[in-house]
Amino acid sequence: MRIANKTITATRLVKDALDKAHEFKDYNIFTFLNEEGALKKAAEIDAKIAAGEKVGKLAGVPFAIKDNFLAPFGETTASAHILEGFNSPITATAVAKLLAEDAILIGRTNLDAFAHGSSTENSYFGPTLNSHDRERVAGGSSGGSAVAVALDIVEFATGTDTGGSIRQPASFNDVYGLKPTYGCISRYGVVAMASSTDCIGFFTKSLEDMDLLMSIASGKDSKDLTTLDDYYNNSEVAKAEKVGIIKDFDNDSVAPEIRAALKSKCELLKSKGYEIIELEMPALKYALAAYYIIVPAEITSNLSRYDGVRYGFRSDKSTGLNELYANTRDEGFMPENKRRIMIGNFVLSSGFYDAYFLKAAKVRTLIIKEYEEAFSKCDFLLTPVAPNPAFKLGEKANDPVAMYLEDMMSVSLNLAGVPGLAIPAGKTASGLPIGLQLVGPRRSDKDLIEFAKVLKEDK
């Protein structure tokens, strides 16, 4: 990362970033640009450096945050109407750690409202365009962050990954995207989607940057009881020998060019002396169904607090309290939000809990076991991130299930809590980015980043 090594000033970096942000305005990447604030901070940092004062590890580095991170920079909206006007007095732990290292916040990026989606089309502010083809979706839900990095507007951007929301847009835009082990980075101050699968992660252009950001952002947080000890900075990188590929994912449901990309990476690994083994993971077949029971249930619960009473949007055409609730939530949520909330209420409602939620929770156990088994046979798994490259805008907008199928290969990691790193793996004939994901056991985040270097074609 071009950390202020005095070859270039922070002010220059920030100006460039803001200029590009304006240049690519029609991609609809940002929900808020921190122009004055960023330039002011840059000036301060340049002054510090000039005065020879100590500066942070990320001094002067322009970055963006997905608009579901709380921070007192513009409104935190999660791209949802219902959070309109919400100026957070609080800063998310992850963002605070980055700011403490003198990184400079350029703006907030677009997402599917409340991160419900795989295309960033479900945003109250409209869709974000794909960095390589303006006819196509950016992927989602962290579409804005992926494109902001892909188009070189910022050095890195934060994202959240509940079922693929970092990895899939990364693979659609030819950048690295890491979904860390569950509990690696604090969720404090990040608008919750599904508490038991939400992960905070990053988009970067290089693996070195990813490693640096992880070393800064990871670790225990007293404000998030589900954070793990700071294993990332205390783990030795293990020597890898075997890489597994999952038979069940190597079929016609996957685009030929993606299967080809996977093959060529396997060849590369073999040529470098690694052993490739084929694995059967039958339970993964049920991961998506289990995911679309557990996650909507947690969504229903986590979105109950958006009622127009204490913050955000409040419908003014309400005379009584019940109307206030109904109108606010009716006008404030996007259709996909409503679908998921209702599904969640269905699987939790009395009479259906055991048949749906409890059963899904048991299937989740099977999936965890299957991953444990897999990692007893190999060091990492290499799989596609999504069955297809970026699809056309509006192509799946009216077919929720077709949209859900996009998450086929990404959701099982979230159910198991294991880390996954999306890596660029070439392009299709039509020039669309292809991404693969490297999957490891829990707490192997650092190993993933190291091993990904092996997968780079040495040119």
């Binding site: 709380l70 998310a92 599904a194 009881l225 309290l321 939790l348 809990y353």
Partner: protein, 510 residues
């Protein structure tokens, strides 16, 4: 027809932890500004996560032990969903599937045992104040830790319902887990009442009276429900299962028209809180910290203090604590069990730092002393105006011990003893020892024989006593009383009568 009532009670106990269940803000909002004890977590901002208070978990162990309950090795939190402005998250964090406190029982003074089904830890709701066109929301009470104690339907009379609630109150106060301030809603009761014809096998349909906040209202509400339901059944009608409210003024229960029954709370395991796993050792260590319970005091003082007096005193935990301290200072050693009720610490109700009485004495004396002080307290509680106020600032064990000692040594008559005792609560006399107070009141009895003889002599020298002296010498025993009276008069009541009589007899017999 004659009906047999069956009653089950759910009791909410607000815990007196320093901070709330899930955030580090002041948990005691009594008399504080609206929304002044509210963290971003309680306010349910987006992205806020609960931060469990370990003390609340410890309190559950104490409360559980106080009710002879099993403490579950594994417990977990769940979310209970409903929309209302008093619930900022849109759900209450409670324990639906795996509560922390398991089955147990509470024994009433009458000996009746009421089984506890379980008790769980949960967060309280906020407060709404309704006005004609709008309502105002105060979130101070949001996520104050609560224990909900669920009894089995083992209660069969309004009196037992009353006694059960009162005993629960005592247990929770003595366990030190709540302020027990009923006026401020520290304990609230939901009562399930059903009746069935005497001897019939199955129970009748139950109605639930919610949110009772005094033992008396529990008793009255149960009485009312029994008669209401009896009338219905007598007319051949059927009781409908519903939730009722209680109007203390009119003494009537009324349907709340709420959809409570239909409500589907969609319970879901709480994903933001790791489960609780209590080791046997941890439970043992914490349970050992349970202060003395009413039954311990009954055992301890039952032999010394009359039962009815003791039951009165048991309603005032700080008093029992004071007696405990007094005994300790008398015996000159500290109790094996902790006796500090932290929630009453402000009222000096802590053993630590209590000055010990100089005189280490036999337990025989200590029993007398205890009895004396217990009776003094009881008489104050029964007789004195605003007796409760007397309890805000109790005399120290040392003061009480000295008082007992003076009474013992006949330096104080029983009347004088009570006078001095009452003065001890008088702000002006604060901190002064018994002797000083007695001196100031001038009620110390004259026991110095020399001084007494002098007084006797002056009396015997008086002409108006000559006749009586004659009569006594001629064997008229009873006139001694007259002579003693004269001496007492001469000594302004300070002379010790028995000593006076002795001297008189000696002098008149030669």
């Amino acid at each position: 027809m004659k009906y047999y009532p069956t009653i089950g009670i759910e009791c909410h106990v607000q815990l007196c932890t320093k901070t709330k269940l899930f955030s580090e803000v002041d948990n005691d909002a009594r008399g504080k500004e609206p929304n002044s004890c509210v963290s971003p977590v309680d306010y349910a901002l987006p992205g806020m996560l609960p931060r469990l208070n370990k003390e609340a978990v410890r309190f559950c162990i104490l409360a559980g032990k106080a009710m002879n309950c099993e403490i579950n090795e594994f417990s977990r939190f769940d979310r209970k969903h409903y929309f209302y402005p008093d619930s900022p998250k849109g759900y209450q964090i409670t324990q639906f599937y795996q509560p922390i406190i398991g089955p147990g029982y509470v024994e009433l003074p009458s000996g009746i045992k009421v089984r506890i089904n379980h008790a769980h830890l949960e967060g309280d709701a906020g407060k709404l104040t309704h006005f004609d066109t709008y309502s105002l929301v105060d979130l101070n009470r949001v996520d104050t830790p609560l224990i909900e104690i669920v009894s089995e339907p083992d209660i069969h009379s309004s009196k037992d319902a009353h006694d059960y609630c009162k005993e629960l109150w005592r247990l929770m106060c003595y366990a030190g887990v709540t302020y027990g301030d009923l006026y401020n809603g520290n304990m609230r009761f939901d009562v399930n009442v059903s009746i069935a014809p005497e001897g019939s096998a199955e129970l009748g349909t139950r109605a639930e009276v919610k949110n009772l906040n005094s033992f008396r209202s529990v008793e009255r509400a149960v009485e009312y429900e029994i008669s209401r339901q009896s009338k219905i059944l007598d007319k051949g009608g059927r009781v409908i299962q519903e939730t009722l409210g209680w109007n203390d003024a009119t003494g009537v229960t009324t349907g709340q028209r709420s959809k409570e029954e239909a409500k589907d709370y969609r319970y879901m395991p709480e994903p933001d809180l790791p489960p609780i796993h209590l080791s046997f050792e941890f439970i043992k260590t914490e349970a050992a910290k349970l202060p003395l319970m009413p039954k311990d005091y009954r055992e301890k003082f039952g032999g010394t203090i009359k039962e009815d007096i003791l039951e009165i005193l048991l309603d005032y935990p700080p008093l029992m604590l004071k007696l405990e301290q007094l005994e300790q200072s008398l015996l000159g050693h500290a109790s094996a069990r902790p006796v500090c009720l932290r929630q009453f610490a402000s009222q000096g109700a802590s053993v630590t730092g209590e000055p010990r009485s100089s005189s280490i004495v036999t337990s025989g004396r200590s029993q007398k002393a205890l009895l004396l002080v217990a009776n003094l307290f009881a008489s104050v509680l029964l007789a004195e105006e605003k007796s409760a106020e007397y309890l805000n600032d109790l005399p120290t064990a040392a003061q009480l011990n000295d008082l007992a000692e003076m009474n013992e040594k006949k330096e104080l008559s029983s009347t004088a003893t009570k006078e001095v005792f009452l003065k001890m609560f008088d702000p002006q006399m604060k901190g002064k020892d018994a002797k000083t107070i007695a001196k100031e009141l001038g009620v110390i009895q004259e026991n110095d024989l020399g001084a007494l003889e002098a007084i006797v002599d002056t009396v015997l020298a008086k002409p108006e006593t000559q006749k009586a002296q004659e009569d006594f010498r001629n064997g008229e025993e009873k006139v001694i009383g007259f002579l003693v009276g004269q001496v007492m008069k001469e000594s302004h009541g300070k002379a010790n009568p028995s000593a006076v009589q002795e001297i008189l007899r000696k002098k008149l017999s030669n």
